[in-house]
């Protein structure tokens, strides 16, 4: 890795910066020095204060206490405008793009080149901007067409538009807020290349993440935040993932949570010849059969888009099966709608927790009762009982360690992703259903939350529940499963006890390799 040890010019210094939000100290007297030309990681769990810190550097929030220095001069950054004037740029986790505008229009927004037609009428000079952006895109190897419309572009291209936005404004300090959260492994690889490339061309980068492997791969130095406090700054070459993980969570991590199943009981879920089609009649799930027993974790492995999500949705009743049978404890579910299925004993943790699992603008206590609000004790003689909601919420908040600034009345949108997921898991487990369906339960979560949720899954299994786990993460499947089913192109290619399958073998099935080959 090309290091520039000789260059110790400090580009950004943060001194004693504190930021408080109602009920929480997001950043607590943080001190940082970032050198010109380095990739500096801000590592921490969700809600550790990484994004808040970066937002203060970018002028989105103002620190309650402390100072920020750029190139040795104290600055007050009251708005993103001022940050940009100081050559700071930021790629947000959720892109800030105008969907019906072209790449160029998005990039120049706020800093438009002006010309005058006939010497009088001012207009925005799109043409020269397009040429300039084309050059920038080539110089940094970004491969973005300046004339494309944003809504036609994929996530990773949109992200590169955000990078071009910063380059167009000659930013020197580039902040990336969880840039890999929405990307596929290949896209992540190419993004990390772009980031290294930017560093090699003299840019300074703040890289916010909770993924250790990315830090190891691209970063020069790493600061670890825990609940708003800076706990460690170290050179990447002097540390290792295990050490970082321990500092990040504040305790040693046992990466292998594996606990063998005790006793496997009777059949809870029977899926027979299930077929699910998409709008065009193409089979997404094709002739899939398997059983899940009480006290068993049945994990479905497969690359993304192999039909796993559709399988789970069909069992839960969110989409209609085209053929086959789904039985719960022998009872055919075909005629039951989602609520009836839920009542007859299916708990469901959906893949998209924000749009399917929660109502983001509702308070936590109502979200925690979404499955049962219409029954006693939440609802009596058609009237809702607020007291029952908050009592129930408080139990789950304690029981599942859901961190929320204002308790039961916290708006779910304000909570971090990990705590949103804990809320859903808590709500669903609280149903005391016979079958629990987990779809990608740990996606996008930090290590602490991942461990907590995996523990919960194992606990439920040990209580004698049947668990259907769908995960794209092979490690997760291998760690948790008692039985593994591998899906490929809508078909259940292989079902076998986990003890009989190696990670490599499962990986091969996921790629469609069958036993005969």
């Amino acid at each position: 890795m090309p290091k520039k040890e000789q260059q110790h010019e400090i580009l950004l210094e943060v001194k004693g910066v504190t930021k408080r939000f109602p009920g929480i100290v997001a950043c607590d007297e943080i001190n940082l020095e970032i050198r010109k030309g380095e990739i500096y990681a801000l590592l921490g769990e969700n809600g550790a204060g990484k994004s808040t810190l970066a937002s203060m550097i970018f002028g989105l929030y103002q620190p309650d206490e402390g100072q920020i220095f750029i190139r040795g001069e104290e600055v007050q950054i009251d708005s993103p405008n001022e940050a940009v004037a100081l050559d700071i740029g930021m790629v947000h986790q959720h892109f800030k793009l105008i969907s019906n505008y072209s790449v160029t229009e998005n990039i120049i927004l706020g800093d438009e080149p002006k010309k005058r037609a006939l010497g009088i009428f001012p207009y925005v000079d799109i043409k020269s901007a397009e040429a300039h952006i084309e050059n920038l895109s080539q110089d940094y190897g970004l491969e973005v067409d300046p004339r494309a419309i944003i809504s036609d572009l994929g996530v990773s291209t949109q992200q590169r538009v955000e990078i071009l936005k910063m380059l167009y404004r000659d930013a020197e300090l580039l902040i990336f807020d969880e840039p890999t959260a929405m990307l596929t492994p290949q896209e992540i690889e190419s993004l990390l290349k772009v980031i290294k490339n930017l560093r090699d061309q003299g840019k300074t980068i703040i890289f916010i993440t909770h993924k250790l492997d990315e830090v190891m791969e691209v970063c020069d130095r790493c600061a670890i935040l825990v609940r708003g406090k800076l706990v460690d700054v170290s050179k990447i070459e002097d540390t290792n993932p295990r050490e970082m993980a321990a500092k990040m969570v504040g305790r040693d991590i046992d990466f292998s949570a594996k606990r063998p199943a005790k006793t496997v009981g009777e059949t809870v879920l029977e899926v027979q010849n299930l077929r699910v089609e998409d709008g065009t009649g193409f089979p997404r799930v094709n002739d899939v059969s398997f059983d899940v027993h009480a006290g068993e974790i049945f994990a479905v492995a497969g690359v993304s888009g192999s039909g796993q999500t559709e399988l789970a949705d069909a069992v839960a009743g969110l989409i209609k099966a085209k053929g086959g049978k789904v039985k719960l404890r022998g009872q055919d579910l075909a005629k039951l709608n989602v609520r009836k299925r839920s009542e007859s004993g299916i708990a469901y943790i959906p893949e998209d927790r924000q749009s399917v699992g929660l109502i983001l603008d509702f308070p936590l206590d109502q979200n925690l009762a979404l499955k049962s609000y219409y029954q006693a004790p939440y609802c009596k003689t058609s009237l809702l009982k607020p007291q029952a909601f908050s009592e129930h919420a408080n139990e789950l908040i304690d029981g599942f360690d859901i961190r929320c600034a204002r308790g039961a009345k916290t708006t779910v949108r304000e909570m971090s992703g990990g705590n949103q997921q804990k809320a859903i898991v808590g709500r669903e487990i609280d149903q005391d259903a016979d079958l629990l369906i987990f779809v990608q339960p740990t996606r996008g979560l930090d290590i602490g939350a991942i461990m907590a949720i995996r523990e919960r899954i194992l606990d439920e299994r040990d209580k004698g529940k049947a668990v259907l786990l769908i995960s794209l993460e092979l490690d997760e499947v291998m760690d948790l499963a008692d039985t593994i089913g591998v899906m490929y192109a809508g078909q259940m290619l292989k079902v076998a006890p986990a003890s009989e399958l190696s990670t490599n073998k499962v990986g091969e099935y996921m790629m469609g390799v069958t036993d005969d080959e």
Partner: protein, 326 residues
């Protein structure tokens, strides 16, 4: 009367003289809505604009030469000012106080009807010495355009035209340019699609939206004044005929874009004038003529039902922009 006696020229001119004011009001609506602020207040804004314009004419009647057209031209300026001022209420409620945009619009409409009615009567009684609920305007001159009027069939569109039609065409062209070619226009359209992105680009979303709403008021005022000259040659609460809502229908049908909205306005205008001119052919009674007045609205319903699905409204339309919510 047979179908041959129908005044086809009148269909064209009357159609245009209705379509153009509708267009300028709709362009006002487009500014507001493309910036993300729902504007149901167009009806009230056009009425208040026309009220201010007519008040100017009524109160300066002695200051100009008897046959001068100058008061008429100036009245459009005052109507624009009046509409803009009234729109400040909508902008302030929606942007500064983050009020519900639909309710604000509806309230402004009600307020406008009541306020202009009251003020017209009061001002007439106390200052002009005659109790009346209307300000009388001079008849607008009407022009025949040399050469163009001699084109077969279409030439009819260039006979007996109102001067305001040219004012509107000029203003519309200017605001088309402003919306699609300039920095401000880029910001307006961005504010209605993703205000967060605009904010992140360092632009003050509230300011952009404020001016967009004020522009919508000014343009609605010009449209209202045109109706006052073309439909009734006076200002009275009768100006509240629902044309502000028709403009909203036109801009929705035009997909929040100026040129397609112009087409929608033409359809409405020509439908209306055709209904008027063709009715006598069928010996229609007065009640049927009243019914004919509803023709543009019936066409609106049909068009929206048929083409409504294809519409793509501004993504952040109606979204109160709160910086703290991300």
């Amino acid at each position: 009367m047979s179908i041959l006696d129908v005044n086809y020229a009148a269909i064209l001119v009357d159609g245009l003289s209705f379509a153009l004011p509708l267009l300028i009001i709709a362009i006002g609506g487009i500014y507001s809505e493309r910036s993300g602020v729902v504007n149901l207040a167009l009806e009230g804004l056009l009425g208040f604009g026309a009220f201010v314009g007519a008040l100017f004419v009524a109160s300066t009647i002695g200051l100009f030469a008897v046959n001068s057209d100058l008061p008429m031209y100036l009245s459009f300026l005052f109507a624009a000012l009046g509409g803009a001022l009234f729109a400040v209420i909508h902008a302030t409620l929606c942007i500064k106080f983050m009020a519900n945009q639909v309710i604000s619009g509806v309230v402004i409409n009600i307020l406008s009807v009541a306020l202009t009615g009251f003020l017209t009567s009061t001002i007439n009684a106390n200052f002009f010495g005659a109790a009346s609920e209307r300000f009388t305007l001079q008849t607008s001159p009407r022009w025949d355009i040399p050469f163009l009027m001699e084109i077969p069939i279409l030439g009819a569109a260039f006979t007996r035209v109102y001067p305001f039609m040219f004012i509107i065409l000029l203003v519309a062209a200017f605001f088309w340019y402003l919306l699609y070619k300039t920095r401000f226009g880029l910001h307006v359209r961005a504010a209605g699609d993703n205000p967060h992105a605009l904010d992140a680009a360092g632009i003050n979303v509230a300011r952009v939206r404020f001016w967009a709403v004020v522009i919508s008021g000014a343009l609605a005022g010009i449209g209202g004044m045109s109706f006052a000259y073309s439909i009734s040659t006076d200002f009275s609460p009768a100006i509240y005929m629902g044309y502000g809502f028709l403009a909203i229908a036109a801009l929705i049908f035009g997909n929040w874009k100026i040129v397609p909205t112009f087409a929608a306005c033409l359809i409405f205008g020509l439908t209306r004038s055709a209904a008027f001119q063709l009715l006598p052919v069928f010996d229609a009674s007065a009640a049927v003529i009243d019914l004919a007045m509803t023709a543009p609205f019936i066409v609106t319903l049909l068009l929206l039902a048929l083409f409504g699905k294809k519409n793509r409204m501004p993504r952040a339309l109606g979204e109160v922009y709160d910086k703290s919510k991300r």
